[in-house]
Subunit: 437 residues, 2 copies
């Protein structure tokens, strides 16, 4: 017999041991008891009386899930510029399905014929060369499950008032896929990189003509010329037919529709690494080339806009943690606004630079509560509180917001984003339609 | 400096060291050299001149990938009964995207309203109970990346003549997803299972009224009441809103549209565990309750129907291996019909009861070759040659075909399925439209 774990909370306000698997008779937290004859109670539903739908060549989500979609926020002037958020609050596990991977475009999604597409590798190389998609498909590949996150993700956190957006539409400019393609180091070895080359200028084949500078060390380390996402070929909005993947690094560097890599001595100082994707600090200096996405976590359920409608009792608290520096080592959860913390269970496999799902059972007693999660990665980096992040960076940053997220639960079970430890916040609504440009 | 690995083959007919990452100047296997000015050569494609397509709520594959679909084979009489195959030969990595997960239905796909769906758990229990989807969503969950494989997968391998189907349409009644849901042991503990109960009878809510017997040990071990597949809620054709997942076990036991679990002393001896999903052995006895899917592997590229159209040179040989008993330990590849073998690289993470992607570089010299792969799992089980499997099981089995798959490559680079070590086979075509019933 397995020894029973106590239902005694391991931290304030009802957090239970993460290893708690419910034992016989302990909880009956959520079931509906059957009174009388069970078989008679189980009437056949109507869909058992009619033959079902036929086979499909390519399946789609259930009609009842039509609200589980991305949230697009196009730029007010240039409609093809903007972003769309992944509904993280409606998902579970670590994989983001391809149809829901976040988007960030500067001039829409090009429709590229893969038979015509070429990657040019040139500059400080021994032998410049083109690679067609068919060429690339012949090389030995590598797969990596990793997140891609926009540098501007969660930027509503810099606002003075808490966001009224749901968790995914606030923090969902991050998604996690299995990317497969040719190691960039293979292709660079083919063309022979000159020792003087310190950067690669990556060009996209979209109508914005995206370009950005990538340090050669990262290119030779774990960069992938990705052809596949979650098993199938890339989706158009994620760079079909070829995308540069730099695991753990800011999304803008993961150039979509990749058409050229030029080896050079110095960065190109493109718009998206000077005017944008840099951060003005309180000192008046700007942070530039802030490549690595630092450790972050987010409770996805319960989260803003949800209601614990079944009343007091057992709930799963679950969310995601990730770090561009490597593996997540620990995620602590608090139900009392940060006074006490308990370690959440991390779902295996815990992979470097990938989403890590965390979960902890919570016995909600029906009184107001304040939920937080705090990620620690394998380098020892600890996700900061918002006050600390603002003290370090000021509020002119826009990018790289990774502070602890706080959800208030009121006595009706309604969940809202809060900045302090009070359960209800009276701040005015803020727009999440950031001025993408 | 990294020490160069030799291009000397490690096994017959051009198999190269699995750790070979191409070094400068070694191969230039597939690139197209640029003559003259590289920049001038890189003319802007037409899609850089027009704004791209707008944001989408739920993305779809590229129009150029419209041939990457499932292959449905409905029963000739009852059109809603049959199977559809995953195009494994068009995929890479370990995850199968949800739109391409294989299907096996007995009377079509029911369209179930999740608000009305209930799971009844009854029989030899202390307290029978209903669980709505909302009830289940409150319990702490577990995720597992694992394959689901139909017991009848690859059954064309029993035929006298080699199959002319592409690899996925021959072996693709297997797919691999991240499944997330409530551990079945949690729910069974809630209702209190009687010690006399040895089996659970699982009922589906489809118009076939699927039912089958599951040993209680498996139910209490790693079974999952799955609500999510690859991050999002289940697709209708894979059991929406609730599916029983038994990692590593025959697909038919992973009951879709799960509506009831009854704890009993003996199996129900349903049609799908007596007349079907059993195997007549040479001795005249029948194998029954053959739950575990044994180790198997398959080269997905190059594979049947493909052509090495770029001629002699470097190619990636890649495929999938999996075992219902646990982790894959090793995959050996042969290019000379099994005379010599070399170990392939296994892609991390290697997970129990999940697809494991293997890869090995191959220098094709343009002469006929015969490719094979052979999986070994962590229990030491070795995937058998076809002759051995037939000697053990006879040819009346239909189910559980897991023999080594052999692809012949001719001097034109055309790849076909063969049974012997000759590169060209003259057998007549066989139908892959199995008589699903």
């Amino acid at each position: 017999m397995k020894k029973s774990l106590p239902l005694t909370p391991v931290a304030g306000n009802g957090l239970l041991d993460r290893r708690l698997f419910l034992q016989s008779g302990l909880v009956l937290g959520a079931a509906q008891l059957v009174a009388g004859n069970a078989k008679a109670a189980a009437a056949r539903p109507e869909w058992m009386s009619v033959p079902g739908e036929p086979f499909t060549l390519y399946g789609q989500p259930a009609q009842f899930e039509e609200e589980v979609v991305r949230y697009p926020a196009p730029n007010r002037v240039l409609r093809n510029n903007g972003a769309s958020w992944t509904p993280l609050h409606r998902l579970e596990g670590m994989i983001t399905p391809n149809g829901l991977h976040y988007e960030r475009h500067h001039n829409g999604v090009p429709q590229i014929d893969p038979a015509q597409h070429r990657l040019l590798v040139h500059g400080l190389v021994r032998q410049p060369a083109f690679f067609s998609i068919d060429n690339l498909l012949r090389y030995p590949m590598r797969s990596q499950i990793c997140f891609v996150e926009c540098g501007g993700n969660s930027n509503a956190g810099w606002n003075k008032n808490p966001s009224r957006a749901e968790a995914g539409y606030f923090h969902g400019l991050v998604s996690c896929s299995e990317w497969t393609g040719v190691p960039l180091s293979t292709v660079l070895s083919e063309v022979g990189i000159d020792k003087k080359a310190k950067w690669l200028i990556a060009d996209g084949a979209d109508a914005f003509a995206m370009n950005i500078s990538v340090p050669i060390e990262k290119a030779m380390d774990d960069a992938i010329l990705a052809l596949y996402q979650n098993g199938e070929r890339l989706r158009p909005e994620n760079g079909y037919p070829l995308r540069l993947i730099l695991p753990g690094w800011e999304g803008v560097l993961n150039v979509k529709w990749l058409r050229a890599l030029k080896a050079v001595e110095k960065p190109i100082m493109a718009r998206n690494e000077t005017a944008r994707y840099t951060e003005l600090l309180p000192s008046g200096e700007a942070r530039m080339f802030t490549f690595t996405m630092e450790a972050k976590s987010l409770i996805t359920s319960p989260s803003g806009g949800m209601v614990l409608k079944q009343g007091p009792g057992l709930y799963q608290v679950t969310g995601l943690a990730w770090s561009g520096r490597g593996r997540i080592k620990q995620v602590d959860v608090s139900a009392d606004g940060g006074k006490t913390w308990a370690p959440a269970e991390l779902q295996d496999p815990v992979l470097p630079k990938a989403f890590t799902r965390f979960r902890i059972p919570w016995q909600w007693d029906g009184s107001p509560a304040v939920l937080k999660s705090r990620a620690v990665d394998e380098t020892g980096y600890v996700q900061p509180e918002r006050e600390q992040l603002i003290a370090d960076r000021g509020r002119q940053g826009f990018y790289h917001y990774n502070a602890i997220v706080t959800w208030g639960v009121d006595e009706y079970g309604e969940v809202t984003h809060v900045y302090d430890t009070e359960q209800k916040q009276s701040g005015t609504d803020v727009s999440i339609d950031a001025d993408w440009d």
